[in-house]
Assembly symmetry: C2
Homo-oligomer: 471 residues x 2
């Protein structure tokens, strides 16, 4: 066994570093840190101890101690992950960043916000808006997720079509390395060709290559106007075909292009307890456009509306004020909850494929569902090919569920891979998807990932048992 | 000595891999591959042999042979680099990608172009336009530079303010690793959280971590209208202060925001042999805006024009047609040539600082110039803090030039570092700036870079003596 167990001496050492009140040993309180939002029991594991450092120096000291004593360290943000990335699968220390939750600076000359990792994404968005700016990162979990977790998973969300994923908003970070050294990568320069791009190697590395203790976020001009369009289509192929047409014929990159299949529309109807327009449609497309001027906004949503109607859109519902927009977004936003009501246990996947392959992949997923007599509602981000396929347990017993889940995932991933897709678009690999990594990354890449991990974390201290098996 | 010399046997092996006609040994022809566009003799070095592989398999075989025989390999694009990154400082093999120059695919459903590394950036732009799309990468060397070189240096250029540097346009690549294996990183998925972001680790790694043999470039909707504004300002501080105002008060991210100091204005006047308006101004700002509709374009350039006039702009000259735009851009575009006429030998630097620090850094560079009685005209990309400071040799003798250059660069870099800047914004480190890297990357980061290099290139075969000293 590579790792050691926590001893009283180690606990004393940790208390010495972060202070006794920032060390959690109470088994009841430890339970909170045993899992993330993956609902299944196999992705829960109790830490031996939780520490809550208050600054980078404390994080570094904890990591140094862990290296000396060979204790695994699992960094944790808000615990809103969907891949068991913050679950301490091997026990050891959970290092929670909840106390590092300050907004440190708003730089109005260079349009940067500098924050600690424990600030919620929603607070970043809110503060940017109050100051007259815009932070474009917007995962669906924004209200609760920490910005540090967004960095760790390279979180996407509804606005990635136009603004890119979290990676694009990050220009610098202070980081504690896996060996416990503190360094600042990048900063407020908006470009740099000065050595390797370590910033973007760290983004999306799921806490396996370093612990981010400060983040430099780019701010943008705030779009002042927005509109939301809901467009039902008879079938998914016609719906998805609209995506390149909006960009090419319309010359517009919308902020969001979301889709829901009919199973999702029906779930939303059930959850909201009302009928939705064209509730029997094969697909809903929800498009959001933002602009700095009202005239530009109107021009954009008229162009998009016309393209939709000329290409199979059954009708275009426009939300041009808060309440009509909220009504449209509700169907999409509460989908995860709506599905949870249908089936409290489910397996939410996060595959991503080239946009044009969405219909093919959805058709094949639908065949898999039929073959195994299960329901797999699908929704997600049409503009960037990201499909949340949600296998529902329904009233299956546990044994049947595990057996069928294994087979369905296996076939679903085969389909994804065949159509040029990847295992995760925005949720990450974590512990949950680790065993499928070899299928999506050829041996050469796996070797590269392992080599980099070993080079930067020779003792394999940081978030072990995640992303790939190194040994 | 780590490396071996090329033998007849090795030459035979190379001929066997790429064919005899793709192996260059003729000393006269080798001279072409001894340098890039850095003009000084110290950054020229003859290769022992040049090979011109025609596909990834041949590249891989050459690299394997080089690993077996311990021969350094320097990958080379068009040789338009400005950091001696493609110069075979240790001799050995220059691997020229000039024969891998095909556009392989235009994917109109997913908006991607797939190309080989030896296609010029200009050809990519041209082909994209012919097909109704837009490739946003636009280094000033676009006509001649290869896309592979753009990837290697993470090239910037005039349009990076709005569209980002080359990194943002690259979603995938086929690459030959330093040990001679072929793999495809990323692809046509526009997002992915599936393991480490190796694509963007490779971008900007200057051929030290792999040889790119195929690139997946993102295409965008083509902006149909553009306008160029030339705005003279009394001084640099007032000029640069305009940048955040345009973005925040105007809500506009222009395509370009360029600046020239008065020395550059005067050089341009001399070169173009005409007086320029407000030729005694402290600074010119050139702003380009692009839009999909004419009305949006007009709204944007009026907003920007007004912001400039309200904030110290002496006048706003608008280029709204090809010929008036060309007239404005000419002053900026021929600047490198204009300076070369003033002084055939010069040292062009590429520092980058947070935008708000441009005036301070320029003022201090001007003091350095005064101290050493030299001329250092400065121009560059105001929108992203990238300053091309161009130390002119003038009529100094060689000994004086080397002595003064050493001191000026040293002080200039100190100023840059003090103001939160980096050594290179878009040209890269190459051999030329290697010795300054330690000043801009703390020991922790240097260790990380070295560890990654050694992990991926254990024999240190690929482009040695560049970026950092590994041993």
């Amino acid at each position: 066994m590579r790792y050691n167990k926590i001893t009283d001496e180690i606990v004393a050492g940790l208390k010495n570093i972060v202070g006794p009140s920032n060390v959690v040993l109470d088994p009841e309180k430890l339970g909170v840190y045993a899992g993330d939002e993956v609902p299944e029991a196999e992705w829960k594991h109790l830490p031996e101890v939780v520490v809550k450092p208050e600054n980078a120096e404390q994080v570094a000291e904890v990591i140094k101690l862990a290296n000396r004593e060979m204790i695994p360290v699992t960094p944790r943000g808000a615990g809103t992950g969907l891949a068991a990335g913050a679950v301490p699968m091997l026990g050891g220390i959970v290092l929670s960043l909840e106390k590092m939750n300050r907004i440190l600076e708003i730089d109005k000359e260079n349009l940067f916000m500098v924050v600690e990792p424990g600030v919620t994404t929603g607070e970043v968005q809110q503060r940017a808006q109050e100051e007259g700016y815009f932070y474009a990162g917007d995962p669906c979990s924004a209200d609760s997720s920490f910005i540090g977790g967004n960095v760790a998973t390279n979180a996407g969300g509804n606005k990635a079509v136009k603004y890119g994923t979290t990676s694009r908003h990050i220009y610098g970070m202070e980081v504690v390395t896996p060996t416990g050294e503190i360094t600042t990568l990048g900063g407020k320069c908006v470009k740099s060709s000065t050595g390797y791009d370590l910033v973007h190697l760290l983004v999306g590395s799921e806490g396996t290559l370093g612990i981010v203790t400060k983040v430099y976020l780019k701010l943008l001009p705030r779009p002042l106007h927005n509109a939301v369009l809901l467009v039902p289509f008879a079938d998914m192929q016609t719906a998805i075909d609209i995506v390149p047409k909006i960009m090419t014929n319309g010359g517009i990159i919308p902020t969001s292009i979301e889709f829901m299949d009919n199973l999702c529309i029906k779930s939303a109807e059930g959850y909201l307890n009302r009928t939705l327009p064209y509730g029997d449609a094969g697909a809903y497309i929800i498009i959001e456009v933002e602009a700095y001027t009202e005239s530009q906004l109107e021009a954009d949503f008229e162009t998009i509306g016309n393209i939709c109607l000329e290409n199979g859109g059954l009708e275009v519902f426009v939300g041009d004020n808060k309440s009509s927009q909220e009504k449209i977004w509700k169907a999409r936003r509460y989908l995860a909850e709506a599905l949870r009501v249908t089936s409290p246990v489910y397996c939410m996947e996060d595959i991503v494929v080239p946009v044009s392959n969405i219909p093919r992949v959805l058709a094949e997923i639908s065949q898999i569902a039929e073959k195994y007599s299960v329901k797999i509602p699908c929704f997600g981000h049409a503009g960037d090919g990201n499909i949340h396929a949600c296998l529902l347990k329904g009233n299956m017993d546990d044994a049947a569920w595990y057996a069928v889940k294994e087979k369905v995932l296996d076939e679903m991933y085969t389909v994804t891979h065949t159509h040029g897709g990847k295992l995760s678009g925005e949720h990450g690999i974590g512990a949950k998807r680790k065993k499928f990594m070899a299928r999506f990354t050829d041996p050469v890449q796996l070797k590269m990932i392992k080599a980099i991990k070993k080079a930067l974390d020779p003792n394999l201290i940081l978030n072990p048992d995640k992303v790939i098996d190194v040994d």
